[in-house]
Amino acid sequence: MNAPASFGKSQVRVEDQRFLKGQGRYIDDVNLPGQGYGAFVRSPHAHARVLSIDTSAAATMPGVLLIVTGAEWATQKFGPLPCRSPSKVNRDGTPFKDPARQCLVHDVARYVGEPVALVVAATAAAARSAADAVLVDYETLASVTDRGRAMAAGSAQLWPEAPQNLCLDFEQGKRADVESAMASAKHVIRLDLENNRLTAVPMEPRGAIADFDRATGQYTLWNSSQNIHANRDLMAAMLRIPKDKLHHLAPDIGGGFGGKNSVYAEPIVLLYAAGKLAHPVKWVADRTEAFLTDTHGRDQHSNVALALDDTGKFLALHVHSIGNVGAACGTMGPFTPTGGSARTQGGPYAIPAILYSAQAVFTNTVQTDPYRGAGRPEAVFHIERVIEFAARKLGIDPVELRRRNLIQPEQMPYTSGIGLAIDCGNFPAVMDRVIAMSDRPGYAARVTASAAKGLRRGFAVTPYLECSGGAPQEEAQLKFTSDGIVLLAVGTHSTGMGHETALAQIVGDRLGIDLHRIHFRQGDTAATKIGGGHGGSRGIELGGCAALKAADMVIDKARTIAAHALNSRADDIAFGKGKLTDSKTGQSMTIDGVIAAAGDQSRLPAGMSVGALDSTAVFDREMFTVPNGAHACEVEVDPETGVIRVVDFWAVDDFGSVINPMLADGQVMGGIVQGLGQALLEEVVYDSDSGQALTTSLLEYALPRADHVPRMKIEFYEGAPTKRNPLGAKGAGEAGCCGASPVIVNAVLDALNDYGVTHIDMPLTSEKVWRAISAGGKA
C-alpha cells in the first residue's frame, strides 16, 4: 500500500486517539510490582543551616521502609549535581563559579523546597506522614531572593567561594565600537526592562520510579524527563555506575517547556534508595512541590541602550542584564541570562555594533534553567521594546522605524552585530505580510467601536528573530517487522508536540509508506545509542533529519535488493512513490515487495542477510537555523479597571519548510499563549524578607486560561528554506513566545499612549495598568 505524500500537509496526529481517550501512559500510570513510595523532607527555609535531623519517630511509623538523610548522602561521597553551561568564562578570563550542590542537603539549605531527606514507605500517605515526622533542627540564616540585591554589600552570601553571589560576569560583542557609537550618536534611547520569573507548570508534574536488580546490578529509571540520554550519562557518573547499568526511559510526557530538561536530585536519590532496598521506589511531585522545585525561567533585569542617527538608523545596541541563577547552578547554570541571551541580540535589524554584558547571580531561590526560548525571547523583548519606546520618543511611526532598519534579503547571508550567522530570510516581506493580514484599513472603525464601550484599543507589530539550539547530534533507527510495521526510534523527545506524527510523515513520505504503519519510539536509552532529547526547537531539525537520513539509507539498500530480484543493477534502479523501477527494462517492485524480500534470506543478494534494510543514521548539525517572523495584535484596555483583553493576534512565521502545518500552528498558538502569560499574568514571587515562596499553587500563580486566548491567524512564510539541513526546516517550538510578549506589551502601550504611559513592567497586571493611567495624568 503506497501512501499519498503527506509531507507539507496538515495531518491529524496519530497520537491523538491515545491521548484524548485517556490511554496515554504518563509517569503516574507506571507501576512496578512491590513498589515503595517516596516522600521528600524539604527545607521550609530560604537559607538555613541544618543542625541535626532526628528520624527516630518517623522510622518506627507504620509502613516505613527506609529513610535517607543528607548526612547519609554525604558519607557516600557521590558527585555533585552537574552544570553543563556553555558559558563559563568571566570577562576577565577567570572561570565561573559552580559551587557543589548535593542531591540531599547535609549542611546548608539554600532555597525553600530543597530536599533534605527521603522517606520510603509502603504507601504514599504513609510516606508523607513519616516525612512530616522527620524532625530537622535548623539555624535560619539571612536570605536574598532578589537578583537586584544579590550583589549589594551586606546581602546574604550563599557560597563562600562566590563573593557578592556572582556566578558569571559575562560579556560578548564589540565594546569599543558600541561605546564610541554611543558617545557620538544623535540619539541614545535607554530603557530598563524586567523579564519576570516564570515556571513552566506542565500539566503533568515531575515524577520517577527507580528499580534495581541485585542479581545483574542493573538499575532502571522511569522518569518524566525530556532529556533521557544526556541525563543518564550524568546521573550514572554521579552515582559511579557504568552507563550501561542504568536503563533510563520515559513514558508519555505531559508537557516540559524546558522544566523537564535538567538533571534533578529526586530521581538520583530514588535510584540510591531502590539500590538499597533492591525493589522499586516511586515518587510523583504534587503541584506545590512542582512550584517549589521545578526549575524556573527568565528572571532578568536589563538596561537597554539603543543609539540612532538623525534619520532613525540604528548605530549600536548595548544590553546589560542581571540574571538570577538560583541557589546554585542548574544543569545549564548561568547560560540562559548570559550566552543564551546574547546570541540573537539585535534581532532582525542591521545594527553594526552590539554589546551584551550580563552578571549571573546566586540567590536563595530554586535554580533557573532553560524555559521555552532560554534567552531568545528575552533578547526579542529587549530590542522590540526599546524600538517601540524610541519610536514614541522620537515621534517616528514604530512600523516605519523598524522598516528602516530591517536586514534586507539582498544582504543575506548576514552576520549580525553580535556575530549570529543568518543564512536566509526575508524580514521585510514577513513584516509586510503580517501587516496586510491585520486589516489596517478597518482599524479606525474598530478604535471607535472600542471607545463606544469605554475601552481603548491599541495595535503593534513586532518582528522577531531567534535561533534553534540543543544538542547538535541525533540518531534515528528504522526497523522492519515481518507484519509490515516500520519501527522508528529517535533520540529526540516529544513532550506533546506531535513528533510521533511529524517524524512518521517524513519517513513515510520518503519511503512511500502510510504513516500509520510507522510505529514511533523515543525516550529510551535501550532504543537508541544517543539522543539529544528535547530543547532548542530541535525535534524536526535534528530528529527529522536523522529520520530522513535513515530512510535514505533504507532506499539505498532497497535498490540493491530490488536489483537482485529484477536481475538488474542497483545503479539502474530508480526510486519514487514507493516503487523501485529498473530504468532500462521498466520492470518494477514496490517498497513492500522489497521489505518482504529483506525478510527472506533466499531472496537477498550475497552479502545481505535478513534484516538488511534496518538502518541507523546519525545526523550532525553543522550550524543551527534562524527561525524568524513577525507578530501583530490588537488589544482593548478598560481604563477604569486596567483590564487588558488581547482581541486579535496575527502571526507570520518563517520556519523554512513546514512538515505539518497543523502541528506548526499548534506550536505557534501554544507559544503565543505562553508569551501572553508572561506579558500579562505570570510571575513567580518570593517574599524578599523571609525568602518564602509565595506562588506555590494555581490559586496564586496566574496562568492564562481559555478566555484569555485571542482569535489567532497564523501563516507561514516558506520563501526562504534553509540549506543548513536537508529538510530545509528551521525550529518552530519557541517562536510563539518570542513574538507574543513584546507585541502584546507594545500594543497595550499603544492603547495607553494618550495617557502619557510609555512603559509598564511585565506582567502587565490590571492594577499596574490602572496605576500607570492614574500616574500618567493625561487622557
Partner: protein, 273 residues
C-alpha cells in the same frame, strides 16, 4: 496528603454523631477548599465526613417570593436552574462565575458559606440579598451569620441545611475575578428588594460587608451616577500581590456602578467585569 478516616453520613443525625465522636473531624460538602488544603498539609483532619448522601440537604424550591436552596446544591445546579434564572438572574450569574467548571460541579452553597472565604462569591449574595441561613438547629439572618475572616455564627458541628433567598425587585452582581484563583478580587452585589436597597462587597476585606453610604444614595436614585462620588475608605481593605487596598477600594466603586447598571437593565443582571 496525610492519612484520615472517611465516612459517608446518610442523615444529619449520623453526621452529627460521627462529628462528635471524632478527634478532629471535618465535614466534606464538595471539597473544593478542604481537599486542596489537605493536599498541602494545611488541614490534617483525623476524620472526613461526607455530606453528599444526606437527603435533607438536597433540592431547590422556588416560589414567587422566595428561593430555598439545599446546602448540598452544587454551584452548577444553581447556575443552570431555569426558575432561578428567571426570578433572580443575578444569583444564577454569580453561581455560574464561581471558580471553574470543576469547582462548580463539585462545590456547594453550604460548603462555601460554612467556609466563609473572604473572597467567595456566595457571601455577597447572602448579605446583598438579605438571605437567611437555616441550620440543623436554628435560623440565622445574613447580618448575624458572617463574622469576619473564615468566621461564622455556626457552632462546632452545626450544619447548614438550606439558604432562603427573598426575591428582590432587581439585583445585579459584578465580579472582578482574581487572575489566578478566580475568587473575587472584588465582587459587588446590589439589590433592591424586600429588605430595601443593599450593596454587599466580597473579596475586598476580611469578610463580606455592606456599604451604607451607597445604599442610602441608591435609595434616593437607583442610578450609577448617584454613587459615582462616594469614596470607599481603604484602611480596612485587603492588600496583597494581586490588588492593593487602594485598587480594591477603586474597584468597589467601579463594580458597584456597573452592578447598578445591570440591575436596572432588564436583560442582563450580572457579569464579570
Amino acid at each position: 496528603m496525610n492519612e484520615f478516616k472517611f465516612m459517608r453520613a446518610a442523615t444529619l443525625a449520623d453526621a452529627a454523631a460521627a462529628f462528635e465522636k471524632a478527634d478532629d473531624a471535618r465535614y466534606l460538602a464538595g471539597g473544593q477548599t478542604l481537599l486542596p488544603v489537605m493536599k498541602q498539609g494545611l488541614a490534617v483532619p483525623s476524620d472526613v465526613i461526607s455530606l453528599a448522601r444526606i437527603g435533607e440537604l438536597a433540592g431547590i424550591a422556588v416560589s414567587k417570593e422566595r428561593i430555598d436552596i439545599g446546602a448540598m446544591t452544587r454551584h452548577a445546579d444553581v447556575a443552570a436552574h431555569k426558575e432561578i434564572r428567571a426570578l433572580l438572574p443575578a444569583l444564577s450569574v454569580l453561581a455560574g462565575g464561581i471558580g471553574d467548571p470543576h469547582v462548580r460541579n463539585r462545590g456547594t452553597i453550604g460548603g462555601s458559606l460554612a467556609n466563609n472565604d473572604p473572597a467567595a462569591d456566595y457571601p455577597a449574595a447572602v448579605l446583598g440579598l438579605g438571605a437567611t441561613i437555616v441550620t440543623d438547629e436554628r435560623t440565622i439572618a445574613a447580618e448575624h451569620y458572617f463574622q469576619g475572616l473564615f468566621a461564622t455564627a455556626l457552632e462546632p458541628g452545626e450544619l447548614i441545611t438550606r439558604v432562603e433567598f427573598p426575591v428582590p425587585r432587581r439585583a445585579g452582581y459584578v465580579k472582578f475575578p482574581h487572575p489566578a484563583s478566580r475568587y473575587a478580587l472584588v465582587g459587588v452585589m446590589v439589590s433592591d428588594g424586600p429588605h430595601g436597597i443593599r450593596v454587599a462587597v466580597t473579596g475586598a476585606g476580611a469578610g463580606v460587608f455592606r456599604v451604607p453610604a451607597m445604599e442610602q444614595a441608591l435609595a434616593k436614585s437607583f442610578t450609577p451616577e448617584a454613587i459615582a462620588d462616594i469614596p470607599i475608605a481603604d484602611a480596612d481593605l485587603t492588600s496583597d500581590r494581586h490588588g492593593s487596598a487602594a485598587y480594591r477600594a477603586h474597584l468597589v466603586g467601579v463594580l458597584a456602578r456597573r452592578a447598578v447598571t445591570l440591575a436596572a437593565s432588564p436583560a442582563m443582571h450580572g457579569h464579570r467585569s
